[in-house]
Amino acid sequence: MAMPENVRGRPVIDTGRCPDGCRACADACPTDAILVDGGPGSARIDLGRCVFCRDCVEGCPEGAITYGRDHRMASRTREDLALSEGVKLAAALERKMLKLLGRSLKLRHVSAGDCSACTAELQALGNVVFDLARFGVQFVASPRHADGLVVTGPVTQNMRLALEKTWKAVASPRLVIAVGACAISGGPFRGLSAVHDGVESVVPVDLFVPGCPPHPLTLLDGLLRLLGRIEDSPR
């Protein structure tokens, strides 16, 4: 499946076009998501920080950055989101965990300071179009009923305690899914004194879903990969 027409999917850098020493895209990026740390052609996008704003596309004099229509970008580790060849898509949970979960996954959502767009896309997963429940994945009202947490937002100072308490209230082994640039890296709020720059600084994360906010298809893809329902090679 591809993103609907015009929707910005995963950005791609054609580093073959990058002139020596050029940092125009990195300088244009408002979230410091572009890393140019090696020699020529080393530019890559950290999807954990990217908010898909397209400032780098406008900022690149060579037209080297374009938006693809690939909606797939969730990964299991933070590092896998910033690879030069794109992203290493999430692998399924280990067998034992999958077996424990059986055919269902119950998740509790914690909004830890998101702007509300990430929350709105999680809500949209439940509508008749995306219908998450048909895959056995459900949002539940209590952490006691949950196998894990879905966290949105950078984790504000004022939400830290509530997140920790909710996490502790989930029985082990438990999953944590970080949804959106904020939850992964702080997103547009990175570095501000009122926030923690992402969920990982408070609780360990098992799945990272990039986006600002992630498209429901991206969310669905990430969740199903985690559950071993989708396995295909990265594009």
């Binding site: 609907p4 027409e5 015009n6 929707v7 910005r8 244009a28 990026c29 408002p30 979230t31 908010v51 898909f52 704003c53 397209r54 400032d55 938006y67 509790r108 959502h109 914690v110 909004s111 830890a112 300071g113 998101d114 702007c115 509300s116 767009a117 990430c118 929350t119 709105a120 896309e121 999680l122 809500q123 949209a124 439940g126 509508n127 008749v128 179009v129 949002f139 009202a141 209590s142 952490p143 937002g153 950078p154 504000t156 100072q157 004022n158 939400m159 509530a162 909710t166 997103g187 547009p188 709020f189 501000l192 004194s193 009122a194 926030v195 600002c212 906010p213 498209h215």
Partner: protein, 481 residues
């Protein structure tokens, strides 16, 4: 007092800086015939400079004034309830003690323990909810004092989403500023991005080309329709009338998807920037959009008909969570919440943005101030917006979508107002001598309307809470900033 219009700026030097007592009287006077749009502080020298922006909706004018105070100010709130949250915020942000304020509690800060209002007596019990809620929503904490099922009082403690947006905008505009405006309240990306763009344009003396203005107006109405329709669905779900919940829920997606076709993102991220818009509307998209909108309009009529004509729905929402017109005016409520109490307040009509040419969208009004009125106003607005959208896509002016927008001029104050789907969004930007933001103040309508929810809940049943809450659907993010 210096009169200005929406989307314009004045030199800060030209602002009347009145002695505190005179300032106080002037604000009270302004609030009586009009209302307070913004009231905030900024550290200056040893003390704090207070700024007030007042609106005269009938005349379509705004006025700004200031006063230099020390660490005390005689509270306006006892005489003027609409000052309530503004004064709590000034106290919290700048340490100005508001003498005589009846409820001077922290608004966002969780630094000190918060003391909740409590009712005592036999058979009185307290219900506490949040900040992590049962559903998929943003964090806030609610305390209900109940006698059996009856709610005596509701207190709302917010601040969980405080990210520091205004602070981060200081010394801007920088490359992050437009993003911060877009996610001040993520479900109002267009509203806040537009207010930001208008403020920067006002400071730099530029104006977006007519085509850009038309695209902005289209995006604003798409955002309104998506949210109104989504909330009608959520109300259906809370009533337990699931066919309408599912149907409205799907239709909400139609509008988000249209916004995505227009801007590349379902919430309109990356569409509006100072100077204009970043995405044009090709002729084919406009045709296609008109068709999609007409189809959605037909479907919406059916589902709204089902919702509003089902007697069990009507009996659940009529007479529930009533706000009186007096309460509405005392708090200077905004948006559909005000219009549902018979107060025809609407920035689109009263304070059109500079260069606006299209005739304004009709203002929808209801009189009963209950959940029914708030949902019905939103349905009427949806219909008006759909007509506007269908016509808007047909009649897009030709020309450029972006004009050059230079840096902000130094030493100025700009005010921009936008009628977001929840009501008036106000941005006030002040530049220092270096042309950078010395203060950037954002007001989401939720800031003023949260109090209305507590009033609407008095004397209702505890089971009415979800309905009341949904009928306002206020923003936590927009309040907490």
């Amino acid at each position: 007092m210096k009169a200005l219009r929406n989307g314009t700026s004045i030199e800060e030097r030209a602002l009347p800086v009145l002695p505190p007592e005179e300032f106080r009287r002037a604000v009270l006077r302004g609030a009586e015939g009009g209302r307070i749009v913004a009231f905030f502080g900024r550290p200056l020298g040893e003390g704090v400079r207070l700024y007030a922006v007042l609106a005269d909706d009938a005349a379509g004018t705004l006025a700004a004034l200031a006063s230099d105070v020390g660490d005390r100010f005689l509270s306006l709130t006892p005489d003027c309830p609409q000052a309530h949250n503004f004064e709590r915020e000034i106290c919290e942000q700048h340490g100005v003690h508001m003498e005589g304020h009846p409820w001077l509690k922290p608004l966002r800060s969780h630094a000190a323990p918060y003391s909740f209002f409590q009712v005592e007596g036999e058979e009185i019990h307290e219900v506490a909810v949040g900040p992590v809620h049962a559903g998929l929503i943003d964090p806030g904490h609610f305390r209900l004092q109940c006698h059996g099922e009856k709610v005596l009082s509701l207190e709302i403690h917010l601040g969980y989403q405080h990210r520091g947006v205004e602070e981060a905008l200081e010394n801007g505009p920088d490359k992050r500023a437009a993003l911060l405006a877009e996610c001040a309240a993520g479900d109002t990306t267009i509203g806040h991005a537009l207010a930001y763009a208008l403020a920067v344009e006002a400071l730099s003396g530029s104006i977006a080309p007519p085509r850009a203005q038309a695209i902005r107006a289209i995006a604003l109405e798409l955002e309104r329709v998506a949210n109104h329709v989504g909330d009608l669905g959520a109300l259906g779900a809370d009533i337990g009338f699931l066919p309408t919940a599912a149907w409205f829920g799907r239709l909400r997606g139609e509008f988000l998807n249209l916004l995505a076709t227009l801007s590349g993102n379902r919430y309109g991220r990356g569409l509006i920037r100072p100077g204009g818009v970043l995405c044009d509307v090709p002729a084919q998209l406009a045709d296609d959009a008109t068709r999609r909108l007409s189809r959605a309009r037909d479907e919406l009529r059916q589902v709204a008909g089902l919702f509003f004509e089902t007697s069990s729905v009507r009996s659940r929402i009529e007479g529930t969570g009533v706000l009186t017109r007096q309460e509405c005016n005392a708090l200077a409520l905004l948006g559909p919440a005000a219009r549902a109490c018979g107060t025809p307040r609407d920035v689109r009509r009263d304070h059109p943005p500079p260069g606006a040419s299209a005739p304004p969208i009709p203002v929808a009004i209801a009189m009963t101030g209950d959940v029914f009125a708030r949902s019905h106003v939103r349905w009427m607005e949806t219909q008006h917006s759909l007509e506007y959208l269908i016509e808007g896509f047909r009649a897009l002016p030709a020309g450029a979508i972006r004009a050059a927008c230079g840096p902000p001029a130094p030493g100025r104050l700009a005010v921009s107002l936008v009628e977001g789907w929840r009501g008036e969004i106000a941005h006030v930007a002040l530049t220092g001598e270096d042309g950078r933001f010395a203060r950037y103040k954002i007001k989401d309508p939720s800031f003023q309307n949260w109090t209305a929810l507590t009033l609407a809940m008095r004397g209702t049943q505890i089971s009415d809470f979800p309905l009341c809450n949904k009928s306002f659907n206020l923003s936590y993010a927009g309040h907490d900033l």
